[in-house]
Amino acid sequence: MVSGFIAVFKRDIRRYVRFKDQLFTSMLHPILWLALFGLGMAGNFERILGGGSAPAGMISYDYLTFMCPGMIAATILFANLYGGFSVLFDKNWGILREIMASPMPRRDLITGISLSSVTKSLIQTVIIIVFGMILGVTFFSGESIGGVIISLVGMVLFVAVFSAAVLCVSLYVAFKISSPEGYQGVTTVLSMPVFFASNALYPSAGLPPVLQEIALINPLTHLSNGLRYFSMGDHFSALGLEFIYNSTEILVSFIYLLVFALVTFHFALRAVEQSVIT
């Protein structure tokens, strides 16, 4: 017997692989971000800052490397924020009626879709890392093979929890809103502060105080911190600034994301349970 969430997962992944356009664009999207925005911004930052010299004994990273974890974070944010769209279609024109009338527990619907979203997010993460390194991103410098593996596991955990959390947000919106236009509007508006009031693209130290406060509680900041810690180390300089992370901070960020995911899961589940689809 296959559990309901596996069935939902299987169906979602099947669609992902079957329709090459979705597969292709989801892979191309992060590559374009890196190649266009990343290289463009990196060139400008390098010109303004002149590279800067790192204090002795500290690894110094260029902007492209600094931005790459942020790029992963942003890609996952957007992919999952729009991830509820297929559910909106299922709800309005598809098989959600069949699912809702079935004895399958509602939470299986959410866990199944989350699981497939996490899978897709991890694929995108790998693509960005690989493509980034081709472009000159210097991740994992000075780490042994074992260190790289531990770092990758850390990144996987951060990406998985964050993508599931954001997907639940988008599921919540998809269940509460009936029109595709409304869904698009809400998710786009949501994405703006999350994306920009964070340290994904630039250090939050340079933001206005209010935005700094927002960045501090912004899950995207915590994801970026986690990814930077695992890919760039706990002590480095970039953009002329010194970055120091300690493992407790990173653990707190992870727990923060975990709590965020549990809360959004709860809201998504409630939205599904309350919705009447006829």
Binding site: G4, E98, I99, V276
Partner: protein, 313 residues
């Protein structure tokens, strides 16, 4: 609950805000029966079926489906029933086989059982050759058949169908009826809503006529038709309203109502024998009969008689 009753609805009411869609409806469906809910658009059929299949929350009344209380045991109810929804509810991007496989999975079927059932059902609805085709490539009739197969995946005790032949061409409708009759003969109880009189007449063991949220008549198709009398006479005269009072007095006339500029006369006796009396009655008043026809009552007449002639939407 007696063992032969599979669906027991008593005093069921449903309201959307201030609008009372279903009013105090009670009926029973026997195990193995082909039961039809017949009524015009907006009569409340879909509200009833959507509540029975657990898509709408239970409001007033008591409903027992396959021995389970709908309010308390809705998961058990879900496990016991099969559903064919009114609108096509398929993922067009899945194949026929995947559609059935997915359904088996979300109903918790075992792998072997699922595989066996899929091949049985593909044979039943003659879709074996389309097993690996995407749903988007199927015709409307094939999609309906796939939905019927899906509704039967878990060997439900009762299959609910909401307007199963809506939008299908006559040949496809016939074919769909054949499948439904076959499914019913194999022992599955069927609860169907429809606004097609012929469909209800041909398929059903028992019909409940619903209008404005209330059951207005119940019986077998024959009972409903013979309830209107032996024959029906359509009469057109130069003054329908004047002649109708006289006709009502003729022995054997059980009812009379205006219908699209004609008079619809229900006769309890042989219509051919009553006809001369009707024409004489018109003559005596100096009213000219411009057209007359005689026929056996059909479900259309039953429908029109009980629900009236106004157009619904």
């Amino acid at each position: 609950m007696s063992n032969s009753v599979i669906l027991d609805v008593s005093n069921f009411s449903y309201a959307y805000g201030d609008v009372q869609a279903v009013k105090d409806v009670s009926f029973r469906v026997k195990r193995g029966e082909f039961f039809s809910f017949l009524g015009p658009n907006g009569a409340g059929k879909t509200t009833v079926i959507n509540t029975l299949i657990t898509l709408l929350p239970m409001q007033e009344g008591t409903v027992t489906v396959a021995g389970y209380d709908l309010r308390a045991d809705h998961v058990k109810v879900r496990e016991s029933i099969g559903i064919v929804f009114q609108q096509i509810t398929l993922d067009k991007d899945m194949t026929v086989r995947e559609t059935l496989d997915f359904h088996g999975d979300i109903y918790g079927m075992g792998l072997e059982d699922k595989m066996q059932r899929i091949s049985e059902l593909l044979t039943l609805v003659e879709l074996e050759e389309k097993a690996d085709a995407l749903v988007s490539t199927l015709s409307g009739g094939m999609k309906r058949r796939l939905e019927i197969a899906r509704g039967l995946m878990t060997r439900p005790q009762i299959l609910f169908l909401d307007e199963p032949t809506i939008g299908l061409d006559p040949q496809t409708r016939q074919k769909t009826w054949e499948y439904l009759r076959m499914v019913n003969q194999e022992g599955t109880t069927i609860f169907m809503t429809t606004h097609y009189m012929d469909e209800a007449d041909i398929l059903s063991d028992s019909i409940a006529l619903i209008d404005h949220g209330e059951i207005i008549q119940r019986g077998t198709p024959d009972e409903l038709k013979s309830g209107l009398g032996k024959d029906i006479i359509y009469l057109e005269t130069t003054d329908n309203s004047a002649v109708s009072t006289r006709i009502q007095e003729i022995p054997g006339i059980t009812g009379i109502q205006p219908c699209y500029g004609k008079l619809l006369i229900f006769s309890g006796n042989d219509g051919a024998q009553v006809l001369p009396d009707i024409i004489r009655a018109a003559d005596e008043q100096g009213i000219t009969v411009t057209s007359v026809s005689l026929k056996k009552p059909t479900m259309d007449d039953v429908f029109m008689h009980y629900t009236g002639t106004e157009i619904r939407d």
